[in-house]
Every structure is written in C-alpha cells, then in structure tokens.
C-alpha cells in the first residue's frame, strides 16, 4: 500500500491560526442563523420601535414637553430587557444545543472563542446604539414638527456614550450570567431576578437600615446605571458604578470564563 509511506506528522506550516476577525464574523452569524436568534433580534428592533411610537403619540396627545434624552430613555426599556437575554443566549445556546463540542474542536482555544463571542455582542451593542440614537433623533424631530414646540437636543454625543455603556453593561452582564450558569433558562431567570427583584430588595433594605443605605450605591449596579440613563452621572457616581460593576459584571464574568475553560464539553 503506497499509503503507508505517508508521513506520521502533520505539516502545519501552511495553516495559520484561525484569525480572530473570522471567529467574530462566525459568532455574529450564529446570532442570527436560527429562527430563535433571528426573532429575538427582530423583537428587540420591533419593540423598540413600538415603544417609541407609543411614547410619541402620548407626548403629542397630552401636549408634554419631552427632550431628546426622554426618547432615549423610553427605548432603553425594551433594549435593556432584551439585549441582556441575547447576551445570555450567546453563551448558553452552545451548551444547551451542545454545539460547543463542534465550536471548541474547530477552535481549541476556548478563551479566543469566548472573546470572539464577547466582541460580537459589543458590535451588537454598537449597532443597537446607532439604531437607538437615530430612531430617537427621528422621534424628537417628528415631535418638533408635529407639536410646533422647540426641540431640545441637549448633548447628543454625551448621551450616545452613556447609552452605549448601558447597552454594553446590559449585554455583558447577561453574557457573564450565561457563562456562569451555562444554561439558558437559569441564566435568563437569574438575570431577571438580578435586574427586577434585587433592586426592590435593595430598596427595602436601604429604607429599613441606614448603614445599608450608604452601602447600597457601592453594590447596586442596576441603580448606579440610573445616572447614565438620565445623564446625571458625576464623579462619585462613576466610582460607585465601577465598584458595583466589578461585583455584578467582572466577577461573574471571570468565574464564568474560568468555568468554561475547565469544563468538560459534553
């Protein structure tokens, strides 16, 4: 058999490592190539538009005087709820659908895969911001044209930066929880508990205990993001945001990545 003369080593000199950009492109593709993924993206865009239309009709009907940032705030509700879900699913769908086996055999460096996934959600955050900023501007301009009131823009560049941070924080926190639990339902439920139940508990605790009231800003990541939403964040708020961000975003993310690196992929 001529075949037995083939060398028993692999010639890898002509195969470069998979470029990181290609991994990111593949991860972006994976976000939209299933019915579930595609509908989640459509739902985020659709709900955001719907909220904006409702908001616009309410302010016009009740003759309110909204500013540009009010429209951005309105859109933050659907974006703030659904983008993190996308963040969770980016990680967990690989585990619940068991595609991690294939993904990690094509790119054995798990950290590179996780990094590519993270960059893909950062890009989604940027896309969400661009869409949000433009839709908000359109709504604000429409409001001015239809109501005849003066249009207030404020500082759009600053708002754009703050809302980009908000979208990134939301998606990244979802991503971190996904990496921590490696299970879609658990990741989503825990994220919603953190996002909707925890603030209430913190609020009650702060009302009952004065020592907790002074501690809360340092550990309540949700609440600290309020300063970004209404663009009122100042010096000390940034420090508090950083500290609470480490607790709720950086720590779960670090544990999650450590877990994925070690996990036996089944």
């Amino acid at each position: 058999m001529s075949a037995t003369t083939a060398p028993a080593t692999l010639d890898v000199s002509h195969t470069p490592t998979v470029p990181f950009g290609r991994l990111v492109a593949v991860e972006l593709r994976k976000l939209a190539d299933t019915r579930a993924g595609r509908w989640l993206l459509i739902a985020i865009a659709g709900l955001t538009l719907l909220v904006l239309i409702i908001q616009l009709s309410v302010v016009l009907g009740q003759d309110l005087h909204p500013k540009y940032i009010d429209f951005l705030q309105g859109m933050n509700t659907p974006m703030g709820i659904l983008l993190p879900v996308l963040g969770v699913l980016t990680v967990t769908s690989e585990w619940s659908q068991r595609t991690a086996m294939v993904t990690f055999t094509l790119e054995p460096s798990r950290v590179r895969v996780i990094a590519a996934k993270f960059v893909s959600i950062l890009l989604i955050s940027v896309a969400a911001l661009v869409i949000g900023v433009l839709l908000g501007a359109l709504a604000n301009a429409l409001y001015g044209a239809l109501s005849g009131h003066t249009v207030v823009w404020g500082n759009p560049a600053k708002f754009a930066f703050y809302y980009l941070l908000l979208y990134i924080f939301g998606m990244a926190t979802g991503f971190a929880f996904g990496a921590l639990f490696l299970n879609s339902p658990a990741g989503i439920v825990i994220y919603f508990v953190y996002s909707f139940v925890l603030p209430t508990i913190f609020g009650i605790a702060a009302a009952l205990m004065t020592w907790f009231e002074s501690l809360q800003p340092w550990i309540d990541f949700n609440n600290d993001q309020g300063g970004l939403i209404d663009a009122t964040i100042t010096g000390k708020d940034w420090a508090q945001l950083a500290v609470s961000g480490i607790i709720w975003l950086v720590v779960p993310m670090a544990i999650g990545i450590w877990r994925i690196r070690r996990a036996e992929v089944k």
């Binding site: 075949a3 692999l10 195969t15 470069p16 054995p108």
Partner: protein, 322 residues
C-alpha cells in the same frame, strides 16, 4: 499519526479509561471496538481536547490537538451527530464550519453532494433530520477541511445498510490516499470489514488488538473453523471424522475444525455435493469480542453462542456486504 500513551481518565473513583496506549498509522483504518460505556467516547474526547486526561498524553501528528492551528484543516472530528443546533439548517451547519476554517462556500456544496444530502434536505432544520441524515451531515462536517486524520465516534450509527456500505467505501478510499482513520463502534461487523487494525476495549482497558486475522488466530487458538453444508451432511460428517477432523452439527450444516480447503478436498475425494462452504471466522471473532468484553456487557449472554445465532449474524453481515 495518532499516538495515545498511557491515557487514563478518572471521574472520582470511576475510571473511564484505564492506562491505554496505542497508535494509528497513516494510510490505515483503526477500529475502536467495545460495548457501550467501555471508554471509547471518553478516549476520543481526550484526543480532541474536550476532556482533559487524568494521566497520559495524546498527540496527533506529533502535536497536542490544542496546538494544531486551524485544526479543522488537519483533523476531521465527528463525536456526536446530534450535537448540532436543532434550529439550524444542515447547510448552515456546514457553512459555519467552512467559514471558521476559511474555506470557500463551494466546499459546502461539494460536501452535501458527497454525503448525498439534496438541496431540499440541506435547507431543512437539523431538528427534522433522521439520525441517518444527521450522521451524514456529521461526516460531511468532519470532511469539510480536507483533513488528513479522521476521528469518528460511531459514524455508522443510524445509517441504513446501504449507508454503512457507502461509508465503508468512503473511509477505505480515504485511508488508501494516505489518510489516518480512527473510528469507534460497538458493532463488530461494522468495523471488521474495513479496519486494518482493531482495538478492543472493555471497562476502560484494551483487551485485545491486532488485525482481523491476528485476532481470529487468538480467538480460535490457532485452530480454523469452517461452516459447511452438504446435500448429505451425515455422509460428509463421516468422511471428515474418518480423516480425524472434529465435526459438530451447527444449524443446517456442520461446524468443522479445519480450513475450508481441507473440507473441500475431503468432499471432492468422496464426491459429496456441497451447498455451502465458508470460513467460520465471523462467529469466532464475534465470540471473542463478546467474551473479552463480557465484564462490561449490560446483557447476560447465554453460555455459548449457538450455531443458529452465528449463522444469523453472518447472514446479516453478508447482507450488509452485498
């Protein structure tokens, strides 16, 4: 090409793979045989870095899997055909693989064509695939990057007899071109036709290895067996016994402890008409396989595999071959 050295994988006190060592050479097909839970999948998972070994080492072409750049271009892997996103279409599964490896889109069509998934099937979601279709898709995925090494866990699982035959031809051709093929199975007849070397594993340990003939020699203790049927079995049995050859009735015919050529010669001398004459190897190998792995078998076996069962299993095997 694939080198497994002293590989052990323990889960707490349970030892899934227990100090196994073997090598797969280029241009050959190595069959990895064992009952369910023998440690085949764990071994393969360690090979591709999905499971860390407790002790020991696996290298492919001298490299650890994690150190192979763009590994899909070198090693084709199919571990579990069902481990695909149920909501993706078959084509999309291949598309993602092709894009990760940096292959042109035409490669996807080539692979779909190779595994006979037509245009309509390829646009259906994997959720709606039969096991056989998933298996074909998995094989297509493993072959995407034109690898020189193939690691396939139970690739014949769910394929119909024609599909098994197709796969056998595919892998044989692959090895003939210098590729290294390592495939597992819990079914002997899936592997024995194609594997140049077989490794039998039970309870995480290698219990036997060698070529088909080597294993058979061990199985029969160097004694050949022939299955023969004559128009007059009684006459044939007498003729053989006269020559000092041991004869046992087996099903419709006789099981004879001799080479087929010797049996034929006796029949020719005595002018006995034979209706069937063949080597009784398969039964021997099957017996060996069951015996060696008996400790890990989930089902209690009858003390002896009866002649009828042997005949039946051979019939199935020859149907598959046909």
């Amino acid at each position: 090409m694939i080198k497994v050295e002293g590989l052990t994988r323990a889960y707490g006190s349970f030892i899934a793979v227990d100090d196994i060592t073997f090598e797969c050479k280029p241009g050959t097909v190595t069959g990895f045989l064992g009952p369910n839970g023998a440690g085949k999948t764990t071994t393969m998972r360690v090979m591709v870095g999905l499971t860390p070994p407790t002790h020991g080492d696996v290298t492919i072409g001298g490299l650890h899997y994690k150190d192979i750049p763009n590994p899909g271009r070198h090693v084709g892997v199919l571990l579990d055909a069902s481990a695909q996103h149920a909501g993706r279409t078959g084509r999309e599964v291949l598309e993602i693989g092709a894009r990760t490896m940096g292959l042109p889109g035409t490669r996807v069509d080539e692979m779909l064509d190779l595994v006979s998934l037509d245009a309509r099937e390829s646009t259906r979601r994997v959720r709606n695939y039969s096991l056989g279709m998933r298996q074909r898709l998995g094989i297509a995925h493993a072959l995407l990057g034109e690898p020189t090494v193939l690691i396939l866990d139970e690739p014949a699982n769910g394929l119909d007899p024609a599909g098994i035959r197709w796969m056998r031809g595919l892998l044989q051709g692959y090895a003939d071109q210098g590729g290294t093929v390592f495939l597992s199975s819990h079914l002997l007849h899936e592997v024995e036709q194609i594997a140049d070397e077989m490794i039998l594993i039970g309870n995480g340990r290698i219990v036997a290895r060698g070529t088909r003939d080597e294993l058979l020699r061990d199985a029969t203790g160097g004694v050949s067996t022939t299955l023969v049927t004559a128009l007059d079995n009684h006459q044939l049995a007498e003729a053989l016994t006269d020559k000092g050859i041991v004869v046992h009735p087996a099903g419709e015919g006789l099981r004879v402890t001799a080479e087929p050529v010797d049996v034929g010669r006796v029949a020719a001398e005595r002018q006995i008409v034979l209706t069937d004459l063949r080597a009784g190897h398969e039964g021997g190998l099957e017996d060996l396989f069951l015996e060696l792995t008996a400790e890990t078998q989930r089902d209690v076996l009858p003390n002896e595999v009866t002649a009828n069962e042997v005949t039946a299993s051979e019939a199935t095997a020859s149907e598959v071959r046909a």
